[in-house]
């Protein structure tokens, strides 16, 4: 009986201790990964994840960093990185280690190759945050966008979050979003054509599935202007010489076709078989191509009788 009471008191004290800290879900949105690679952001996130004492009701406030996303690359972390089976006690250390591991180890390219998001620029994103509750923006540089406050000091972030928690009381949103970014460093690099004289190689740069779709889309304008007339058409010609891509409205415009190449999940290669040039400006008004897609051979086999 005494042993039972001792065990019961241990269990009771354990739950009492664990209830001292009220954890709140927090999204962390990051716009630049340089700091992660140098390890500075993990230290910053450690500070953010550390429980602190609230000024308004003497509670200990802690944050559970459940979701970390990189808006510049449109990548989010996986929840299981933060699903700590040991409970809350090691949460801070766990968050520090796992965040760093995630941003260093994640195969970003494999996550990105299917995306068709256009360039994700920071200013429009900031505007979507204006007026939203529970969103705090941290930046290394002091800046102000519209009526949105951007904090440059982590203690100031803690103070702002604390004031928010105190003012909201029972109406507190269960999720707090913290945005980290470094100003003017969120542009997605644009890959420019390497050889303006080689039409096929430039088109295949756009068709390169291993590259992010947004990067491929960015290449279209420069390649199009360099090689094609404004109303140029594309004909996909089969081995037997029949056009495969006709529509009720004629053949597709080259620019539309290039865009479809940039977003294709199956394109493997494009071969240029023929083109017609304007005598005046030397630009191409009609191009004949053939496409190879993933699974084409498999489809041919399937269409044969068994």
């Amino acid at each position: 009986m005494i042993r039972f009471l001792i065990v019961l008191s241990i269990i009771f004290s354990f739950f009492s201790c664990s209830s001292d800290v009220n954890y709140t879900a927090m999204d962390i949105i990051v716009f630049n990964n340089d700091e992660f690679q140098s390890g500075k952001y993990s230290e910053l996130l450690k500070q953010l994840a550390s429980p602190f004492e609230s000024n308004c009701n003497n509670d200990i406030v802690g944050f559970d960093p459940l979701v970390v996303s990189r808006k510049d690359l449109n990548v989010k972390s996986k929840l299981d990185y933060f699903d700590n089976p040991a409970g809350n006690r090691n949460k801070v250390k766990f968050a520090e280690r796992e965040l760093k591991e995630y941003f260093l180890d994640t195969d970003v390219v494999s996550d990105l190759k299917k995306k068709t998001m256009p360039n994700y620029s920071f200013d429009p994103f900031l505007k979507t945050l204006v007026g939203k509750k529970g969103v705090f923006v941290y930046s290394k540089e002091e800046a102000s966008v519209d009526s949105l406050t951007i904090y440059s000091d982590i203690n100031a972030v803690h103070t702002a979050i604390d004031e928010y928690i105190c003012s909201e009381g029972e109406n507190l949103s269960p999720k707090i979003t913290l945005v980290l970014y470094r100003k003017n460093e969120v542009e997605i690099p644009v890959v420019k054509p390497t050889n303006n004289n080689d039409l096929a190689s430039n088109i295949n740069l756009i068709a390169n599935r291993k590259e992010h779709s947004s990067v491929r889309l960015d290449m279209i304008d420069s390649i199009f202007v360099s090689f094609f007339t404004e109303d140029s058409k594309v004909l996909e010609i089969s081995d037997s010489g029949v056009p495969l891509n006709g529509t009720q409205n004629g053949f597709p415009h080259v620019k539309d076709w290039l865009r479809s190449l940039a977003t294709s999940r199956t394109i493997e290669a494009v071969t240029v078989t023929e083109f017609k040039k304007n005598a005046t400006d030397g630009l191409i008004s009609e191009i004949h191509i053939s496409e190879t897609h993933l699974g084409d051979a498999k489809i041919v086999n399937k269409s044969k009788p068994n």
Binding site: L79, T116, M117, T247, Q248, F251, R265, G295, D296, I299
Partner: protein, 226 residues
């Protein structure tokens, strides 16, 4: 024509009238008499092209549901009006002829996973999907299982030969309430879509000449929306 005029002096009036009548008749022959047929090799090439197009078409749908799952803060309406959504929808619409778009009943779906099929517009179908899948953080599709019905040769009311076919394929749909990204681990919902795109291949005349055009008519999704 020049040869015809030279010969005029050497023929009598009856022959002249016969030549004129014959010339006039052959000039205004109805187009169906010279309609081309597809060879076996050409049919096989068009079948492959239709599968590629079906893949691309459904890729736009999946891209939208996937992008929406990453934009948790945006409402369905906000996302629907965004540039990325509208661009994908316009690409999808480019698959259909203007005539079909005007009927506004292009995509058929089964709300409960079984017939009867309801038909709706691309816009409404996308809104439906975005609403249904909002609660999932990530989706992954497997396009691997394709099947095409052989093209069937038909003749329309004007005597024109055309070809009708249907691309049928199964999509494996994996979704997760928790995981984001292309992880192979932790997918907690498994679901199958059966889709078919009905299309025809027909000769058309435009300012650019006469050629074969692939026209999609409707997409049927045998799917229980979740």
């Amino acid at each position: 024509m020049l040869k015809l005029l030279i010969n005029l002096n050497q023929i009598d009036v009856r022959n002249f009238i016969f030549i004129i009548i014959s010339y006039s008749f052959t000039s205004f022959l109805p187009t169906n008499i010279i309609a081309q047929k597809l060879s076996k090799a050409q049919q096989a090439e068009f079948e492959i092209k239709c599968i590629q197009l079906a893949n691309a078409f459904c890729g736009y749908i999946d891209e939208l549901t996937e992008e929406k799952s990453l934009e948790e803060d945006m409402s369905t309406e906000e996302f629907f009006n965004s540039d990325v959504c509208q661009w994908n929808i316009n690409q999808m619409k480019s698959f259909f002829s203007t005539k079909n778009l005007k009927t506004n009943k292009i995509i058929g779906y089964t709300p409960t996973g079984s017939p009867p099929i309801k038909y709706t517009s691309i816009d409404n179908y996308i809104k439906l999907l975005l609403n249904q899948r909002l609660k999932y953080k990530s989706v992954v599709y497997d396009f691997s299982a394709f099947q095409i019905n052989k093209l069937v040769e038909r003749v329309d009311k004007n005597g024109e030969i055309y070809y009708e076919g249907k691309v049928k394929f199964k999509q494996n749909f994996y979704a997760s309430k928790n995981h984001v990204g292309n992880s192979e681990l932790g997918w907690d919902v498994f679901h199958e879509d059966f889709k078919s795109l009905v299309f025809t291949i027909k000769q058309v005349r435009t300012a650019e000449g006469r050629f074969f055009a692939i026209t999609f008519h409707k997409l049927i999704v045998e799917q229980q929306l979740i």
